[in-house]
Symmetry: C2
Subunit: 703 residues, 2 copies
């Protein structure tokens, strides 16, 4: 009789109509898992009683296997757990991060193959994460995923902030349109001239994908812990508003090479009716593994300057040393070549930056163009492009090491790989050893151009493994990594906090190319920054580049908005990107950049609407000092800054950097006004922001 009951329970349990629910700690989100009659796993996500993701299929198409790993499943077990903990990041927007979630593990077995797949759901108050797990099992060990079949069935034609799916770049401008409007616009966006492009063949967009429903629900889809798996893009069905996973394939048609005893990255869906919750969410880092570096004392948030922007201004300075360009690394003797005289990274010029950085309290100076190879850096066809241990003849690494050390400034190493990745891996140990020997503790890496190994894309599984390999190897040498043109981040900086920042989006350099739209920085925190900090390199005071010569580019913001970005664009690595001469021209405005912190105890998202405006307040790490940054898109606005985040019962002095009355990003970007004000927790400040303007405030306690 007992056996019969158990059998009936088991039968009920494996019944394909069976469904299972999980609720968030605040009960606002409900996740429903069920099997379709054919044994296909599905999930649905409801928010405040309404579906936000309609019933959506899950599974995989495999290579060299006829039957997809997406049907014929039965449930063999379901386990529920919950967890509410806090942890301290090495650096971040908050001193402590709470990880409060409920979890459901659904164990599935495909009946015809006996293959087992588990799906682990974690539901937080601000969203859902789920991943597929492939336990060690008798009948399956190695397999190839052609594509993941995970769907995200949206409830309507949401407003969407998107860039086209592309396997090799994420530097497109961000377009705002309805889901149904993407198709008409995407081909034009794809024409954007970028160093490496491999468009997905179908209608697809990149993550983090930010959306807003007609009834004001904000939805953000991304992934967490992208490890040993290709990056996910999203196919768009603009009839049904169904999104579906689109894994970056390698050039031989493989999605992912898998071995059991592994898991996919987490698929994340943040949900709120308040846009500020998206910016405040820690869902992505909470879904990553804890820090794997034992001694993190050498990982330091950094404010830096650089021999860099001058290469973009059109002023003539450049990375290369000579006009002779038939370079063969290891054979070409640079000491015998005639310098062209426009080489930026020469010892004397770097010393000027070190002097300036030391005088103004910066931690470091980035130097690009210090090493052999820039004259002939053809991507993809050439494999050995640079030496990462041989400086140009006019860059004296030893002398600069001593000079910088004497001034208390670090030099930041630059490793532009031009995507000759295997060659970079060949040189990497020597390159890191060179850094250690010459006092460098941070490297900016770059991945311009098509990838070698030539089977790979920037976002394919192999390259994902490469970025992680570089980061982990760098940690062995106590080196911080700031990667440019790498796959966009997925919160791995929790596990490897030496991966201190990434670019992986359209950054400030585009101010000198095709331009940055005024709403760009009001969107990035909702998209790119959801995965991790960005080395956006703000602080361009002289946006109009025509003053230098031939570059007609104009800036996209007021000068004050550039200041505000140090607060709104969170990063533990912040550059003051402009030239020394421009900071010397505006020393009072520059004071904000000198003062602003790069690590924080707390963060308060005060105002936020993607594509329109963002206002954020933060408390400096370990100091009674606060900063506020507010920005707007092309439209002027009145920001109402509520200082209730300040501790009660005290007085504070606020130094306010505001757009001038006549400020306008197009006509008068350098108009600003600096004032001081005594404020308290009760103060509410009405502050006008110019078109593409901003506001930046420093707040100190009055002792």
């Amino acid at each position: 009789m007992k056996k019969l009951i158990l059998y009936l329970i088991a039968l009920l349990f494996s019944y394909s109509g069976y469904c299972q629910k999980l609720t968030s700690p605040d009960n606002q989100l409900v996740l429903t898992f069920s099997l379709l009659p054919n044994g296909t796993p599905t999930y649905q996500l409801d928010y405040k009683g309404q579906p936000i993701i309609r019933n959506s299929k899950m599974g995989f198409a495999l290579l060299h296997v006829d039957r997809p790993l997406a049907e014929g499943f039965r449930i063999t077990d379901t386990q529920f757990t919950s967890s509410d903990t806090t942890w301290e990041p090495v650096w971040g927007e908050e001193k402590e991060i709470r990880d409060n979630h409920r979890e459901m593990l659904v164990c599935l077995q495909q009946e015809k193959t006996d293959w087992q797949v588990n799906i682990r759901f974690r539901l937080f108050n601000d969203g859902l994460g789920f991943r597929y797990e492939f336990p060690v099992q008798p009948n399956l060990r190695h397999f190839r995923i052609q594509n993941e079949l995970t769907e995200f069935s949206l409830t309507g034609d949401h407003k969407t902030f998107w860039i086209p799916a592309d396997y090799d770049t994420n530097e497109f401008p961000i377009t705002t349109s309805s889901l149904s409007g993407i198709a008409a616009l995407i081909d034009e966006v794809r024409k954007e001239p970028l160093a490496a492009k491999s468009p997905a063949p179908n209608l697809a967009v990149q993550t983090p994908l930010m959306m807003k429903s007609a009834n004001g629900i904000y939805v953000n889809i991304h992934e967490a812990a992208l490890i040993n798996y290709p990056a996910m893009h999203l196919n768009v069905n603009d009839q049904t508003f169904q999104l579906s996973a689109h894994l970056t394939p390698d050039k031989t048609g493989n999605g992912a090479f898998m071995q059991t005893g592994s898991a996919t990255p987490w698929r994340t869906i943040m949900v709120s009716d308040d846009a500020r919750d998206i910016l405040a969410s820690n869902l992505i880092v909470n879904l990553n593994e804890p820090c794997k570096i034992k001694d993190t004392s050498w990982i330091k948030p950094t404010k830096y300057m650089g021999v860099w922007w001058e290469y973009f201004t059109g002023g003539g300075s450049t990375w290369s040393y000579t006009d002779y360009s038939d370079i063969i690394i290891g054979q070409t003797d640079y000491t015998k070549l005639k310098p062209h005289g426009r080489h930026g990274a020469n010892t004397q010029h770097v010393k000027e930056y070190i002097d300036f950085a030391a005088k103004h309290g910066f931690d470091a100076v980035l130097v690009e163009g210090w090493n052999e190879g820039w004259e002939d850096n053809h991507a993809y066809i050439k494999e050995r492009i640079y030496s990462f241990t041989k400086p140009y003849p006019d860059f004296d690494a030893k002398e600069l090491q001593q000079y910088a050390a004497a001034k208390g400034v670090k030099i930041i190493m630059h490793h532009e790989t031009t995507s000759s990745v295997v060659n970079y891996e060949h040189q990497m140990h020597d390159a890191f050893r060179f850094m250690v020997d010459h006092g460098y503790d941070a490297v900016k890496t770059g991945y311009v151009g098509g990838i070698i190994p030539r089977s790979e894309h920037h976002d394919s599984q192999w390259m994902v493994n490469h970025y992680n390999y570089v980061t982990e190897t760098a940690a062995d040498y106590k080196i911080m990594v700031n990667s440019h043109e790498a796959v966009r981040p997925t919160g791995i900086h929790r596990t490897w906090p030496n991966w201190i920042a990434q670019e992986s989006a359209r950054g400030t350099e585009f101010e000198s190319f095709k331009g940055i739209a005024p709403d760009h920085t009001t969107i990035l925190p909702f998209t790119r920054l959801v995965g991790g900090p960005m080395d956006y390199t703000p602080g361009i005071f002289q946006g109009d580049l025509s003053v230098y010569g031939s570059n007609p580019a104009k800036g996209s913001s007021t000068l004050v908005k550039q200041l505000a970005l140090y607060v709104t664009m969170y990063s533990p690595l912040q550059m003051a990107a402009d030239l020394i001469e421009n900071y010397d021209r505006f020393p009072d405005a520059f004071q904000f950049i000198k003062d602003v912190a790069v690590d924080w105890d707390n963060t308060w998202i005060l105002e936020a609407e993607p594509g329109d405006y963002i206002t954020i307040a933060r408390k400096s790490k370990g100091k009674n000092e606060w900063f506020v940054g507010g920005i707007t898109d092309e439209n002027p606005r009145e920001s109402i800054i509520d200082f209730s985040f300040l501790p009660k019962g005290k007085k504070y002095i606020a130094t306010i950097y505001a757009d001038g009355k006549d400020a306008d990003w197009r006509t008068n970007p350098q108009s600003y006004l600096i004032s001081s004000k005594t404020i308290s927790q009760k103060t509410k400040l009405k502050q006008r922001l110019a078109p593409s303007g901003g506001v930046a405030i420093r707040i100190r306690e009055i002792e």
Copy 2:
């Protein structure tokens, strides 16, 4: 007037009907270079007044360029030089090697593009080498070669010793047929079960390609100095007997990625009416660069045994440690796994080999299966297959280091990469450091299975660079390399003599699989060994493997032929491959293996006919001691050994290891007879060789 004359000379010079001749030092070979009316470069090679290569086109098809780099050329310069020098190899068949050649450099410019290509011809008495050079020039720097168009227009339907062109393996059995007979046979040969196969899509064969014309001229086509270029196969036109270059493409369709300031490998054509000249030729090494290693004292010819053959006999011993096979390197804790008890590379067993090697004067013991990962070594899909620094729990590297050192024996490291090449490169520095720390000075590398990076083949340009990279890096650690399943050699061991041997052909292991044909070792010295020494691993006394259990394989030779291979298959690295117990059974025959040298002052090819027989005599390096080895195919023969190579006026004692009267590879392979004889320079010995039999002779001066 002077200008006019110069103009007329220039006109004459660039006249497309212009041709230029180069003769070999002995005037027997004549190379004729000419341009066709359309400006296509061609060459012809005559031998003793008869064409041996008819007029053949030269050039390239480029990717992303409409016009092939193969027509519209004019000659801008022609330079003649000659050279007669000698050099000393670090190890080899000769103490000194003569490099006597005449050279012609033809400088070409393509009229419509202004692109410059030079062709350098070197004519030796035993053959031709030529290569394309791409000088640094104003209008061309980077380009992609889709295929090389070099032709080798043969004069008839030659007898040919061939294996099918395949981008990933050279382990096919060798077929003997006419050129016109290849097509009917090749599909069947391609069915041979091999670990990785990527057949060329058309009728094509591999080099070194050995041929014999109807009128008895021997022709061998190969290449020298394969550096930063794909390996060349040969398309076969079996109507016109025109061969043409077929470069190994990568999987994205590229042949070679080129930068000016470079050259292709040399294309080599050896020619003689005496087959012995092909075996005696030093053309390939002469076309390679001199040694690049300054201190070569650590590079030592080596005779070794190994924990190896037992894995092939079917006796049960194996590479793996446990039956548990869900291995993740770096995570799996082997100390917690139950050993299956059949692991060959355990400390105790390795000590037995060290004892035996020490007792019998061997230099080293190879140990395969010492490291983590063998339980789950799935190729291509799995990237991190092995650790190269973590021994299995029952392999005590420190203890064995001390044990071997005390006995004066080296242990040879084994790095089976299973072609997960990028991961091997990741681990390589640590792996070499582990070797240095544990007293290893030689490594056997392996490339079983499909290559990662997945765009590549074993023979594509990227992998060619990999093998060279491993060799050069190993030299930094003073490590000798013996590569298996790598691209076949092209004489690079002159430049990097630490690349002490390669497999790169069907070796002795196949005695345990599908078998080795009796004529195989009479062909290999004319094909595979033309490029460099082979780690053939001879010395199998017990060829019938059924004695061990389930493996029905029978050996392909008599026991004495196995002895003779130590002389006929030149290598500075020679293994005594059989089990200890078999050498203990035949201690008198084993004495020859103990005695035979692995480095030589002089070599005399006494008798040779590809596919039929080879008899070679060699003088031990620095010793008044000679060895003779003679082998035959499936047919018995009478060898007439002429000892005129011995110094005059002295008496010598010859210890002769001969097939027994009833010896036969099929029925009685272990029948042998050892005798001694006093000989002099005038002696001519008639010696009967059994079917697939041999003769091995040790000669010492009578003091």
